[in-house]
């Protein structure tokens, strides 16, 4: 009598191969989707010329800046995480402000960095890190002066933060993030 193959083992191995190759395929599929969206964007840019390339670069940069704003304005439930993400956003905004692409976005990024610095100063002050708070506030004042603000006193910038953050219905650091 001829011996039959171990169907159970075959089946298990086939399932394992299927699962692994699904995972590999899914990763490739995700990359393909990203590639295809970028490919379509490049086609649009090629169709409409360098002005469109400039606009797309501007919008990508502005999208990144607007995204970082979320970490500046909104407090997370955990104070430690909130501070970590805020300081991370300040550092990312500083990088974008130092390397604006395109360069004409520099004032827009500077403004966001200034707002982030004011918030960071308020957070550090709450933590009794006076030197750091002062350093962030000075950085903010220098930025707003360069943007032509009429009053860059500490009091006015704090007041501005309270008014403008309220515009987003966000919790204020002075209220312990519990608004």
């Amino acid at each position: 009598m001829k011996k039959r193959g171990p169907i159970g083992v075959w089946f298990s191995v086939a399932i394992a191969i299927f699962a692994m190759s699904w995972w590999v395929g899914a990763t490739a599929g995700k990359r393909l989707a990203v590639y295809w969206v970028r490919h379509e964007q490049k086609q649009q840019e090629a169709k409409y010329g360098p002005e469109r390339v400039h606009l797309d670069a501007e919008l990508d940069e502005l999208f990144a800046v607007s995204f970082l704003r979320i970490f500046v304005v909104y407090d997370l439930e955990s104070k430690t995480n909130s501070e970590k993400t805020l300081l991370g956003a300040v550092s990312d905004l500083q990088y974008l402000a130092d390397h604006p692409n395109p360069a004409d976005l520099k004032p827009v990024i500077d403004l966001e960095l200034g707002i982030a610095d004011v918030k960071a100063a308020a957070v550090e002050e709450q933590d009794n890190n006076r030197d750091l708070a002062e350093s962030y506030m000075k950085s903010a004042q220098a930025i707003f002066q360069s943007l032509g603000w009429r009053d860059t006193s500490e009091e006015n910038l704090k007041n501005m933060m309270n008014i403008e953050f309220d515009r987003f219905d966000a919790p204020l650091p002075a209220e312990g993030g519990t608004k």
């Binding site: 692994m20 699904w22 002005e51 800046v65």
Partner: protein, 147 residues
């Protein structure tokens, strides 16, 4: 390994790869596409903040520069993609430029900006709004946003 086993394993490999790739592609592509389209058609928050805060807190010249450059960018967005939103943002920007021109005693430029502002606003009721009422409305919105 028997020939049949090789056949089954190869089949599992090919079907897994193709099914995984297709499933992920068809799930993610519309999402990425929509995300890209919203980046292309939504006026970025950073731009709105820029012109608004510069108008509110900076010297008139810097405020004008911020409003003009923001108007240029949003107009470029409209040119590239007519589905850009919100449609009234350019109207608001030009209305603020008109208010700045009034403050600088330049009524001709103010009128020119208001004509531009009106061209970007749609008035569903078709009612005529005077220049003064229009500027008063914009100032009222600013005050409401600020308090």
């Amino acid at each position: 390994m028997t020939r049949a086993a090789k056949f089954v394993y190869l089949g599992a490999l090919i079907v897994g790869l193709l099914a995984g790739a297709c499933a992920e592609f068809y799930q993610d592509f519309p999402m990425f596409k929509e995300s890209q389209e919203s980046t292309d058609t939504m006026v970025p928050l950073a731009v709105t903040d820029y012109w608004y805060l510069q108008y509110k807190y900076s010297d008139p010249n810097d405020a004008k520069a911020a409003l003009s450059s923001s108007a240029g960018l949003v107009e470029e967005m409209f040119k590239a993609n007519p589905r850009t939103k919100p449609t009234g943002e350019l109207g608001e920007i030009y209305a603020h430029l008109a208010i700045l021109s009034d403050a600088a005693n330049n009524p001709e430029q103010s009128s020119a900006y208001l004509i531009e502002a009106r061209s970007w606003w749609t008035n569903p009721k078709g009612a005529a709004i005077s220049d003064d009422d229009l500027k008063a409305a914009v100032k009222k919105i600013d005050d409401r946003v600020s308090h």
